[in-house]
């Protein structure tokens, strides 16, 4: 079984500080990491491989430095890595990204399952996974929390919904987007780290995958950023300090005043 995992390199926002004057993020020294949701995708792919055999190919679209994310994926069990990188892909929105990645996946060919994280922590759209599936003309199941069973013809998964979960069956090939509940990603083994060091990361350009550059990058993006601004911060409200009993009473009074209690 050939499994393709789509990952994205993102800034590690967990440790990002805000500049109190400008209200913007301080970017100095912010490291790049694999999108946290993609860690679950990598793990899910590796587990399928371990269970029924096959190969895991990690793929990312990004600048040349995104190669480090691919090496990390290899350290965690991916067998091969493909970097889809070209100036022509720059400034892509979700439609153009879906097009570039799906073109690369078609170029790689012979895939059974494509796995993505539910969304990227920087863009937070969750649109690229289903978009890739549409362009590959294969079904997708989003918000997968468990792979119930899998063989070379079909897969059964639990799809997370607001009120519980649905059990869905799909023929293969299929694209899945996975949520955090699906697994606990492993820590890279020493052997994995060695493999990551030695791995040859293949780079694919727009020409390599025969992508139509009218459909990539900015050219292929129907959405455009009109403006960017810092939202007005909520200003501080009333402060209460002192004896617990008194401040609790003051709060309850406020709450009953607005009809909450």
């Amino acid at each position: 079984m050939n499994i393709i995992v789509c990952i994205k390199q993102v800034p590690n926002t967990m440790n990002v500080q805000i500049d109190p004057e400008t209200g913007r993020l301080k970017r100095d020294g912010v490291e790049s990491i694999i999108n946290p949701f993609d860690e679950y995708a990598i793990e899910a792919a590796v587990r399928v491989k371990e269970k029924i055999g096959g190969k895991v190919i990690a793929i990312t679209m990004g600048p040349p430095q995104a190669e480090s994310a691919l090496r990390e994926a290899i350290s965690k069990g991916a067998d091969e890595a493909v970097l889809v990188s070209d100036r022509a892909f720059g400034g892509a929105d979700t439609l153009a990204t879906s097009y570039a990645l799906s073109s690369a996946i078609k170029f790689i060919g012979n895939y059974d399952i494509v796995i993505c994280g539910r969304q990227a922590s920087d863009g937070d759209t969750g649109q690229v996974g289903p978009g890739i599936a549409e362009m590959l003309d294969i079904p997708h199941i989003a918000y997968v929390k468990k792979i119930e069973s899998i063989d070379d013809k079909s897969i059964k998964v639990e799809r997370m919904m607001e009120d519980g979960y649905d059990l869905i069956e799909s023929p293969i090939p299929v694209l899945l987007t996975v949520v955090k509940e699906i697994n606990t990603p492993r820590v890279a083994s020493l052997k994995g780290k060695m493999a990551a060091k030695k791995a040859v990361v293949k780079t694919l350009t727009a020409a390599d995958i025969e992508a139509d550059t009218k459909r990539t990058g900015l050219n292929g993006s129907p959405t455009q950023v009109m403006k960017i601004f810092v939202p007005t911060q909520r200003t501080g409200g009333e402060k209460f300090s002192g004896e617990a009993k008194e401040i609790a009473a003051a709060l309850v009074k406020k709450l009953s005043g607005v009809g909450v209690i």
Binding site: M14, G90, T125, V225, M226
Partner: protein, 409 residues
């Protein structure tokens, strides 16, 4: 190329302002040995640049030149009219977000001088159409067939795409629910139009008829307004509780249009097998009016017993910060913030949550924010409507006693 941006080397003073302003981290400063004053030069990484123009506005020396050219999509925009709301339902229950979208959709439609329509896809669903009219829809397209009894991406995508291609709305709004997020992107991709996720505000320009879609960018600390200038329809998803619900106007007049579904033309590759209600998902954070959330400051798993006691008393749902979830004090389904849920309750009580931006973006549109924390200087206490400084384990029992005596008396 559609857009181009460049730094005018003779004007750039190497002041670094643009580097700090760039939301995408696309600008870096490089040394210029050849410069007579050894001034640095701003360099734009085109792989990261989104051509948003923030740097252009910030540059005092007019050293950055941005040329935006509108893309030709080949779409005749004048053919597209009307605002649509996708009326999501699960087992014949209309999702709450739909009423909110109808309210906002109505406002946009009036501004554009056009009609508001709802699209209802389901099985034995026709009786729900009047509900949508009562909430402001002028027209309701009903796609009723047993194939839509349970949500599956293929048939839902097919039917909505068919309907959009036939009727040509200019705007399509959908709820950013698991269902909406799952197939909205498929629809937009099939039509090859733009889709903007998780908008927090919408506006229209009656001249260009462009929908201005504002959403948090890069973790929510900055906002971006996004346009789909040359493609139609303009599609956007919006989370539950971002807009206010449309009021009910009983017996309002509207048109119900039954769309004849030809099942043969619908894709249907997946199979729905069963559905399991998750009792632990009673954590319906989206629908809660009051949420009590706890974070690292709680100190221990057992602390949630105290939180539960207060929650029961207030009829509140329980939320948590990522720190509390990662410490395995409470399941992930309770997590609020960037990697969890977005909520906007009437009252949000943050207990021992310092307020990292990742958490704040998940709850900052709550009406009233109450913070209880030992550290009065943390962001949550600074931005709270009511900030209570002190120990959770002292203050919450007092609040519980106070409420009990109020209710009892």
């Amino acid at each position: 190329m559609a857009n181009s941006i460049k730094v005018l080397t003779d004007k750039c003073m190497g002041c670094k302002v643009c580097e700090d302003v760039c939301p995408f981290g696309a600008i870096s400063m490089v040394e210029r040995q050849e410069h007579p004053k050894k001034l640095k030069l701003a360099v734009i990484d085109l792989n990261k640049c989104a051509y948003c123009g923030s740097c252009v506005q910030s540059c005092k020396f007019n050293a950055i030149e941005l040329k935006k050219e509108s893309l030709q999509s080949g779409v005749d925009k004048s053919l597209y009219k009307g605002v649509w709301v996708y009326a999501e339902q699960r087992r014949c229950e209309i999702s709450g977000v739909v009423y909110e979208l109808l309210n906002e959709g109505k406002r946009l439609a009036e501004k554009l001088g056009t009609a508001l329509s709802a699209v209802l896809v389901g099985s034995n669903i026709k009786s729900k159409a009047q509900e949508l009219i009562d909430r402001g829809a002028d027209k309701v397209y009903v796609c009723d067939d047993s194939i839509f009894a349970e949500f599956q991406d293929d048939p839902y995508t097919s039917v909505l795409t068919q309907l959009i291609e036939k009727e040509k709305p200019e705007i399509v709004l959908m709820g950013a629910t698991n269902m909406g997020c799952s197939f909205a992107s498929r629809v937009a991709t099939r039509i090859r139009t733009g889709l903007t996720a998780d908008c927090v505000s919408l506006e229209v320009d009656p001249k260009t008829r462009n929908l201005q879609q504002t959403r948090p960018a890069f973790g929510g600390n900055i906002m971006a307004t996004i346009l789909t200038p040359e493609h139609r329809p303009q599609m956007a998803t919006v989370r539950h509780k971002v807009f206010k619900e449309a009021k009910i106007e009983q017996g309002r007049k509207g048109e119900i249009i039954e769309y004849k579904v030809n099942v043969q033309t619908l894709l249907n590759r997946t199979k729905f097998l069963s559905s399991i209600k998750d009792t632990s998902a009673v954590v319906n954070l989206d629908a809660a009016n009051i949420i009590i959330a706890a974070g690292r400051g709680l100190g221990k798993r057992e602390g949630f017993k105290l939180i539960e006691e207060l929650a029961d008393l207030l009829g509140a749902a329980i939320g948590a910060s990522r720190a509390a979830v990662d410490s395995e004090w409470i399941p992930y389904s309770h997590q609020i913030g960037q990697t969890g849920k977005t909520v906007a309750p009437k009252v949000y009580i943050a207990c021992g949550i310092s307020g990292q931006i990742q958490h704040m973006i998940g709850m900052s549109s709550s009406d009233i924010i109450i913070a209880i924390n030992k550290d009065a200087s943390c962001p949550m206490m600074q931005s709270a409507t009511y900030a209570l400084e002190g120990d959770i384990y002292e203050i919450i029992p007092c609040i519980i006693r106070e409420i009990k005596s109020l209710k009892g008396g």
